[in-house]
Amino acid sequence: MPTESAVLESLRSVQDPDLHKDIVSLGFVKNLSISGCGDVAFDLVLTTPACPVKDQLKDQCEKAIRALDGVASVEVRLSAQVASRPGMDKSELLPGVKNVLAVASGKGGVGKSTVASNLAAALAAQGAKVGMLDADIYGPSQGLMLGVKDDPEMDQERRLYPPTAQGIKVISMSMFSQDEAPVVWRGPMVSQMVQNFVRQVEWGDLDYLVIDLPPGTGDIQLTLTQQAPITAAVVVSTPQDVALLDAKKGLRMFEKVSVPVLGIVENMSGFVCDGCGKVHDIFRRDGALRVARSQGLPFLGAVPLEPGVALAGDQGAPVVLSSPDSRSAQAFREIASRVASELSVLRAQADGVMVEYDLAWKDLPEESLEVAP
C-alpha cells in the first residue's frame, strides 16, 4: 500500500487551472485515508460547488493515484466550501454572506433581471446557498421571475425573514409597495431601503447573494454600489452598439467605487428559431466580446434569444430550471460556473487586503512611528 506522503506527492501534480496552484497546497485535499489493502479515499474540497472543472480535477486525481504502486481502489469525494469575502469576520453587514454579486446593466431592456435570476438558479442548482436581493426600483421583477408566493416575515425585533422560491431566498422592492402602483423612489429613500435590506434581513448563511441592480449609471445606482458590500459585479448587455456604449459607462461606474467587474454577459445574442433551430443574428454579432476585449475584461458568455426563456421567467421558473436542456440554460450554467470560479480567483488575490472594517480607534494598540531622518 502507498504511504500518505506518496499519495499527497502525486496529488501535487494536479493543478487548479484558475488558481494556478496544486490542489494540495490549496488545501483542497481533506480526510485522506489509506486502508491496509491499498484503498485510497479522500475529500476534494473545492472553492465552489459550481466549479466548472470539478470532473476534470477528479479524473486527474484518480489517474495520479492509480499510477502509484499498491493502490487497489481510489475514491474521490467531491465537496465544496465557498471561500468568503476577505475581512468578513470584521464586517457588520451581511455577516453570513460569503460573496455578494451585483448584476448590472448600462441601460434597461437588456435582460439583466433574467440573467440575474438564471445565475442565481444555476448556482443554487449546483448546490450553493443562494439569495436574491432585487434592488431594481424601476421594475422589481424577481418575485415574479422566481415565482415567490409568500411574503417576508418580520419578527418582534423588526428582523425580516425572506421567503424562499426555487431554493433561493428572495427579497424584492416589490414586496414593500402596495398593489401595482409604481412607487416613486427618491434617491435618499432608495438609499434607506437598501440599508434596511442589507441590515435588517436575516439572510442566514449564503454562499452567494445576487443583487439585481436598477439599470443605468445614475446617482441611485452609484449609491447602491457604494452602500452594499459588493464583492464583484457582472455587466449585462445586448450586442447592439447603443447598449454596449452604456455598458462601458457601467464599467466605469464600478471602477469609480473600486468594485471589481468579473466580466460581460451578452444577452439576446442571436435568435434561436423555434421552427428550424437556426440562430439568426438580430443585432450584430460578438459586440460584447469586442467590448470585453477592449476593456481587458473576461467575456463571460452569450445567451441566445429563445421564445421559451421569457415565457419561463414570466411563469416563475428561470429557464435553467424549466428547460435545462435548452441552449440558453446551457449558456447560463456555463456563465454561472465562470462567475463562481472568477469569484474564487478574486478571493485568492484579495488575500490580506482589508475590505470591510469598523475600527474603534482607542482599542487599537499604539505603535511607535519611526520616520527616517
Binding site: G87, T225, Q226, Q227, P229, I230, K256, V257, S258, V259, P260, Q349, A350, G352, V353, M354, V355, E356, Y357, D358, L359, A360, W361, K362, L364, P365, E366, E367, S368, L369, E370, V371, A372
Partner: protein, 121 residues
C-alpha cells in the same frame, strides 16, 4: 487589484497610518488630516474653497472610529463630532504625497511635534 489598505495603524504621537496593498506605508497626523477633510461641510461644494482647515480644528482632535466605505474609501468619525468626511484611498495617497512635500506650505503649520507623511522602513 485596486489600491486598498492591508493594515490601519494608530501611531503614538497622533498619526493615522496605512499599510497599502502596493507595499507603500503612509502616516498622517490627526489634526492635519482632519484639516484636509474633503466633505461638503469643510469644502464649499460650488467654489471648491476650503471652509474648515487645520486652523479651525481643536489641537487634541483624534479619530473615534475608522470605518470602511464600500471598497474605495474610509470614513473617520472624529472626537469633535465631525463624521461626514469620506477619504477615498486615492485621495489619502495624494494627501500623503502632499504632506511629504512639506506640510507647512500644504496646509499651514502642522500641530507641534507631529510627524507623518511617507514612512520609510
Amino acid at each position: 487589484m485596486s489600491l486598498a489598505p492591508v493594515a490601519i495603524r494608530r501611531y503614538a504621537g497622533g498619526s493615522l497610518g496605512v499599510d497599502w496593498s502596493d507595499g507603500n506605508r503612509t502616516a498622517l497626523p490627526y489634526r492635519w488630516l482632519r484639516g484636509q477633510c474633503p466633505c461638503a461641510r469643510c469644502v464649499d461644494e460650488w467654489t471648491g474653497v476650503r471652509t474648515t482647515g487645520e486652523a479651525d480644528v481643536p489641537f487634541d482632535v483624534e479619530p473615534v472610529r475608522v470605518v470602511s466605505v464600500g471598497r474605495y474609501a474610509l470614513r473617520i468619525d472624529w472626537n469633535d463630532g465631525h463624521d461626514s468626511g469620506i477619504y477615498g484611498y486615492e485621495y489619502l495617497r495624494d494627501l500623503s504625497a502632499k504632506f511629504a512635500q512639506g506640510p507647512a506650505e500644504a496646509a499651514g503649520k502642522p500641530a507641534c511635534g507631529s510627524k507623518g507623511g511617507h514612512v520609510h522602513d
